[in-house]
């Protein structure tokens, strides 16, 4: 009889352990599945962000070599200015426009702190200040008149053209002119772009196709994510599009959102966990506390697009004098500013921060509080010295989650009114703005060649940004967490 029981027990134990092992495989599989999804997703993004492109030059750089055979990189400013002169807008072709030259010139020599309108009446002599190399006969002309060679172009005035070249050669660096020659004369055009995987595995096919469809094009490997991409604002050309403005917009928005919601969120969480449950609270206060508590749970579930509608009504419209910067003395157009976006986002992440902070505070053992109270600490002292330090890692999780949430949110900002095309860096909370997800949304929806790749590169930047923000928070958390784990 005893043996049977033993056998039975052992059988059941083996079975139980088998089940246990099976489940551990299941859990592993879950991680694998999640990781797989992530890998595929990232792979798809990387696949788009790099790859072979077929580009064609409108003007072959080989045709721009100097008479003694030097390539454009080797030519001096004078020669390059000569090229610019030669390619000043031809009939119907968009090469170097006079305005481009003019801007280049202004950037180099005249764009001081003066507003654009004041430039108009500045004479060349004043603009260039002393010591600059320019022909004396220009000295008394205003910059506005200087621009007149545009008319000369129409009249094919060779002398006016020569003057421009002279002026440029004398005042503009070779590097800037080279850039001009590349951008406006050589003019790289994107014909087709292939994904990374295709570029690596089906190179022959790509070559064959390119040879058939675009015989004049050159194939090159392009990383859509590059330094220029971060430095330049958006553009209607995929090749020259960048994310500078969006990146800055995202950072501004995050700073405002976190700056507002973090103190509010932690404050509310502390109130709800430490004060709201107080035994001698008035009945009405207890009711209010219960209501706040339920309300926050509910807010966490409110769809983000509804926060967008709220932000539009409250921050953009109702609080326009504040959010447009009127009250701060800034001449803003309307309330569709970074401040509105940041505040909207702050409301959106507030419940997430509160709930996570509450969980974290709740996880602080009661014995710590009692120990503190037992020594005659006030409630505030107990919270500040015992509860918060221990709850910090958990609170950081909430902050990380909410930053992650805020950084990738698109819908509410579409409603609040992020700009789709904007070139100027945001410089105050009252600036118009765009953010990375909005750019991604716009570019993924753009059917023109190359914009899918630009979008992918933007996603990578967004993820890197997120990663670095997270990493700092995680390091912080793990340090605290390690200590906390040891202590509990």
């Amino acid at each position: 009889m005893a043996t049977v029981t033993q056998q039975g027990n052992r059988g059941s134990l083996t079975r139980r352990q088998r089940i246990s092992r099976l489940w551990s495989r299941v859990y592993q599989a879950c991680v694998g599945l999640a990781a797989l999804a992530l890998v595929i997703l990232l792979l798809k993004i990387v696949d788009d962000a790099f790859g072979t492109v077929a580009v064609v030059n409108v003007v072959d750089p080989a045709s721009l070599v100097s008479q003694d055979g030097r390539s454009i990189e080797q030519q001096n400013a004078e020669e390059l200015a000569g090229l610019a002169r030669d390619y000043l807008d031809e009939e119907g072709r968009h090469f170097v426009s006079t305005d481009r030259l003019f801007t280049l010139f202004l950037d180099e020599v005249a764009r001081t702190e003066l507003p654009s309108s004041a430039l108009r009446n500045l004479t060349v002599g004043q603009a260039l200040f002393s010591g600059q190399n320019f022909p004396q006969k220009w000295a008394d002309r205003t910059l506005f008149e200087l621009r007149l060679p545009d008319v000369a172009r129409v009249e094919r005035d060779a002398r006016a053209r020569a003057d421009i070249a002279l002026l440029l050669a004398g005042n503009v660096e070779q590097g800037r002119l080279l850039e001009l020659v590349y951008n406006d004369i050589v003019q790289v055009e994107l014909l087709e772009s292939w994904n990374l995987i295709d570029s690596l595995t089906r190179q022959d096919e790509i070559r064959a196709r390119a040879a058939r469809d675009f015989p004049q094009a050159t194939l090159e490997f392009r990383s859509w994510l590059n330094a220029d991409f971060l430095r330049t604002p958006g553009s209607s050309q995929a090749l020259t599009s960048g994310i500078r403005v969006a990146l800055l917009g995202t950072l501004w928005m995050l700073v405002i959102a976190i700056g507002v919601s973090l103190p509010l969120g932690l404050g509310a969480a502390i109130y709800l966990e430490e004060y709201a449950r107080h035994a001698n609270n008035h009945r009405l206060l207890r009711l209010l506390n219960g209501f706040i508590e339920t309300n926050i749970r509910n807010l966490a579930g409110v769809p983000s697009i509804i926060y967008g509608i709220l932000g539009l009504t409250v921050f953009v419209r109702a609080m326009e004098p504040l959010t447009s910067g009127q009250l701060a003395g800034v001449a803003g157009a309307d309330g569709r500013t970074i401040l509105s976006a940041g505040l909207t986002m702050a409301l959106l992440i507030l419940p997430i921060i509160i709930i996570n902070a509450q969980e974290a505070i709740r996880a602080v053992p009661q014995s710590l509080r009692e120990g503190s109270y037992g020594l005659g600490a006030t409630q505030l002292q107990t919270i500040a010295r015992q509860v918060l330090p221990v709850a910090l890692p958990g609170m950081l999780t909430g902050v990380i989650l909410s930053v992650s949430r805020a950084i990738g949110e698109t819908a509410p900002l579409v409603v609040v009114g992020a700009a789709t095309t904007i070139f100027v860096d945001p410089d105050s909370p009252f600036s118009r703005f765009t953010v990375l997800p909005i750019q991604i949304y716009r570019w993924t929806a753009d059917p023109r060649e190359g914009f899918q790749d630009v979008a992918a590169a933007t996603i990578i930047v967004l993820l890197l940004l997120l990663l670095s923000l997270n990493a700092s928070a995680i390091i912080l958390r793990n340090r605290y967490s390690a200590r906390a784990r040891r202590t509990l």
Partner: protein
């Protein structure tokens, strides 16, 4: 005793310091203004969240009221009886063989190329008898005889077949700005009664008299502040109807242009995508959380968790394109071509992937907070790892896990970009996950980003949808809050 002697010697300084610190401290209650101020400030922090809710309710409520009080104009329909004609051949349809009063099969002889003018459920008429089509083919119709209070009769061969059609009322002739009599398309006058309002373009008219025989209406022009204008023949006419809450909450068609304002197609799509999202995210997310909390080494955990949290930050737009360009083709390969380009299944599954990190991360925190003593107690009773997890750890962490699920579900319900891109763009009341259907959020984003002008019923409907979305999440949260509380009390 010896120890006590030693203590005595070093106590002098302590006593002195403390005496200084404790001087004038009585048991009397002291005012602590800082404490009170901080407490009040913290309460204010909590109150901000109430302002959020009030803001949402006021914003959505105000415009929803507009929606429910606004009159929607819909095209006027009327029933016509017409000879059945094969459209692409111009061939008129009549009986190919005589039909007696009992037979339910009605034979036809239609050309191979003919497109059928009949469809299931349609009402047809033969020599005064009305029948309902049960099934239609080129050779004949399966019908239900003698419907709509008509008598089943025998019909000879070559009897012409008539069909009932619903047609839109159109203006029958050009209308000048000073005309007071309008002509309608044939047979359409029956759709109007005296005192009805009619809208043509921007102008509203009131019916004063109906002439059914000549299909004419006498009207008063330029009602309700509109201006009499010239209208040309063929213009569709509209009649008013206010949106009722009942219709909104029970209707199964959403088409504001046609006056159908039933929320169910949108609601249903939302529920379907949420269902599939949760079907993916709950088990996987919880599995990941359990693995990380119970099995993984600290190193693995510190590696995997940040990566998962990274996934939270991927813009949902990206997931949308992922669903469209990866998941849907995959499903088409696995299931077959019946998977439509836009479908709720694909959107739901990808949404599930999106929610996994949210659920995993918060659940893991909850599991991590379960005291080790509880696990050890379970092991000590001879439980295997799995049994310990299932019977000791999970129940103890249930409130945190519920919070995670809650957040996951509300993200799924409120998720906008994925469904806008991948779930479909037409309100479609279907339970088939392989077909496209538009969710509430998808509809809001589509309409608000479109060409629609503001203060129209279409536009205001967005707020009503938003309000419903809000109330839905509210109701859901209240229920799950109650569940969480119960569990918490039980453990």
């Amino acid at each position: 005793m010896a120890q006590y002697q030693a203590v005595q010697r070093s106590g002098a300084e302590k006593a002195a310091t403390l005496e200084r610190a404790l001087r004038q401290r009585s048991l009397r209650r002291r005012a602590r203004p800082v404490e009170s101020i901080v407490r009040f400030l913290l309460l204010l922090c909590g109150l901000v969240s109430i302002l959020s809710t009030v803001g949402i309710l006021v914003t959505l409520g105000e415009n929803s009221l507009l929606f429910f009080s606004q009159r929607s104009w819909q095209q006027v329909k009327y029933d016509t009886v017409e000879r059945a004609v094969v459209v692409n051949l111009g061939q008129e349809v009549s009986l190919a063989a005589a039909l007696d009063a009992q037979n339910s099969y009605l034979s036809l002889e239609l050309d191979e190329r003919a497109t059928l003018p009949f469809s299931e459920g349609q009402l047809i008429e033969l020599g005064g008898e009305r029948m309902r089509v049960m099934a239609a083919s080129r050779d004949g119709l399966e019908v239900e005889r003698g419907v709509n209070a008509s008598q089943a009769l025998a019909h000879p061969v070559d009897t012409p077949v008539f069909v009932h059609n619903e047609r839109t009322v159109l203006l029958g002739a050009d209308l000048r700005a000073d005309d007071t009599v309008i002509h309608l398309s044939e047979g359409a006058a029956a759709a109007f009664q005296i005192d009805d309002l009619i809208q043509a373009d921007e102008e509203v008219m009131r019916v004063l008299q109906v002439e059914p025989v000549s299909d004419m209406l006498a009207v008063r022009r330029g009602e309700e502040g509109s201006n009499p204008a010239r209208h040309s023949a063929g213009l569709p006419l509209f009649s008013p109807s206010a949106v009722t809450l009942g219709e909104f909450l029970t209707g199964t068609r959403w088409n504001p242009q046609l006056g159908h304002l039933g929320i169910w197609p949108l609601l249903n799509a939302t529920l379907m995508t949420t269902f599939f999202a949760l079907l993916t995210a709950l088990p996987v997310g919880l599995g990941v959380a359990i693995y990380l909390s119970e099995y993984a080494s600290a190193r693995v955990r510190s590696l995997v968790k940040p990566v998962l949290e990274l996934l939270v930050g991927v813009p949902t737009v990206v997931f949308g394109y992922f669903a469209l360009t990866w998941m849907t083709p995959l499903l088409q390969q696995i299931i077959g071509p019946q998977v439509k380009q836009f479908n709720t299944l694909s959107a739901g599954l990808v949404m599930g992937i999106m929610i996994v990190p949210t659920i995993a991360s918060i659940s893991e925190d909850a599991l991590g907070a379960v005291p080790r003593a509880l696990r050890e107690a379970s092991y000590a009773l001879g439980a295997t790892r799995q049994e310990t997890i299932r019977r000791a750890v999970l129940p103890a962490a249930v409130s945190g896990i519920m919070a995670a699920f809650l957040l996951g579900i509300s993200r799924a319900v409120g998720e906008t970009m994925i469904v806008a891109l991948a779930a479909g763009a037409g309100p479609n009341f279907t339970f088939n996950p392989l077909e496209g259907a538009e969710t509430m959020t998808g509809h809001i984003v589509r309409i608000s980003g479109g060409d629609i002008s503001y203060n129209t019923i279409d536009y205001n409907s967005l707020f009503a949808i938003g309000l419903l979305l809000f109330l839905l999440t509210l109701a859901f949260n209240v229920v799950s809050g109650a569940i969480t509380r119960r569990y918490r009390e039980a453990t």
